[in-house]
Amino acid sequence: MCSVCGCGEAQIVLDKDKAGAHAHAHGPHDHPHDHDHDHHHHGEDGAIDYGKGIAGAHVPGLSQERIVRIERDILSKNDAYARDNRRAFAARGVFALNFVSSPGSGKTSLLVRTIEALKERMAVTVIEGDQQTSNDAERIRATGAPAIQINTGKGCHLDAHMVGHALETLAPPPGSALFIENVGNLVCPAAFDLGEAHKVVVLSVTEGEDKPLKYPDMFAAADLLLLNKSDLLPHLDFDVGACLANALRVNPRLQTLIVSAKTGEGLAAFVAWIEASAARRAADMARG
């Protein structure tokens, strides 16, 4: 990430507007020079100790170098942006869901159907994350819901900073639902909090019952599992019970719904889940 605002190497493209294009300044750059001694510090008992945190203490004749304690989570930068997003969502009463899945699970079709079912009752805006193209945002816009595409370039996930930039342009209205469709990937998006109320993991019945065991982090991070493409079940040997059991093994608190973006099965339940969860979250916020 750049040291100015945390932009990654990935270009953040909001539609045609390159919101991420600003100068990337780097810190002072000294060319490395060779030292003919080791860069560690000797304690009184002769022990070599890198961990004492002797910031500022020079050892004459030994080295100008010092060890400074940092003790920061590597993801702390992202988490700080996620907190900002979460605060912004709370202030405006926006209910944000982060949709994660492997590519081809039917996320976009599911979102299109869900928006159609929800839009009379609740305003919906969408952030679409993909490595390239704005095909998905265009599919969403066809429903009438405002959508913004973030192209992550080489990035395998959305991060909270990209979402923060997208929010400036998208400006989701108060009391609305914001659907964030993450990059299709069951690994990396699990680690990056975007500030959402819940992660919703979408798994399709063409994928295999053991996906929750193969990619446990994602199922552990999610609050709701949507088992999609249920219309295909008669043609497959997919064992729904085994799949749900695997998912509950890594996350006993996971809620589950069986849905089909094609036939609409289960979508009424999903819409009810969104409305109930949004209301509960708003009530929690009101109570502080």
Partner: protein, 113 residues
């Protein structure tokens, strides 16, 4: 995997701290990476060299300490080693184990010049 994004974050935090300390350059960065954190140390090292290039952390060495996975088994009522996330208790074979360590992803300290 997301090692590239993590590495960008490591370099960014290191440069931020270096600036605070008035350091000219960063010579070593010490990380704690849990065995259950789904992060490959080799990939971090590879990405680090590329990301640090052209910054005050160029040429810095990455020292990665692997912390082992452990959890509390609710049935055995004791701490047990954990070989995989959400894995079974090696004693009783049941899955009622709460992970207590092994998913760390932390910059512990760094050496500056």
């Amino acid at each position: 995997m997301h090692e590239m994004a993590l590495t960008e974050s490591i370099v960014e935090i290191a440069l931020e701290e270096a600036l605070k300390q008035g350091a000219r350059r960063v010579t070593r960065v010490f990380l704690d990476v849990g065995a259950l954190s789904a992060v490959e140390p080799e990939a971090l090292e590879f990405c680090f060299a590329a990301v640090a290039c052209g910054t005050a952390a160029e040429g810095a060495r990455l020292e990665i300490a692997r912390t082992l996975g452990a959890g509390w088994c609710l049935d055995c009522e004791r701490s047990v080693p954990l070989a995989e996330r959400f894995g079974a208790c090696p004693e009783c074979g049941r899955y009622r184990v709460q992970m207590t360590s092994g998913d760390e992803l932390k910059i512990r300290e760094m050496e500056i010049d």
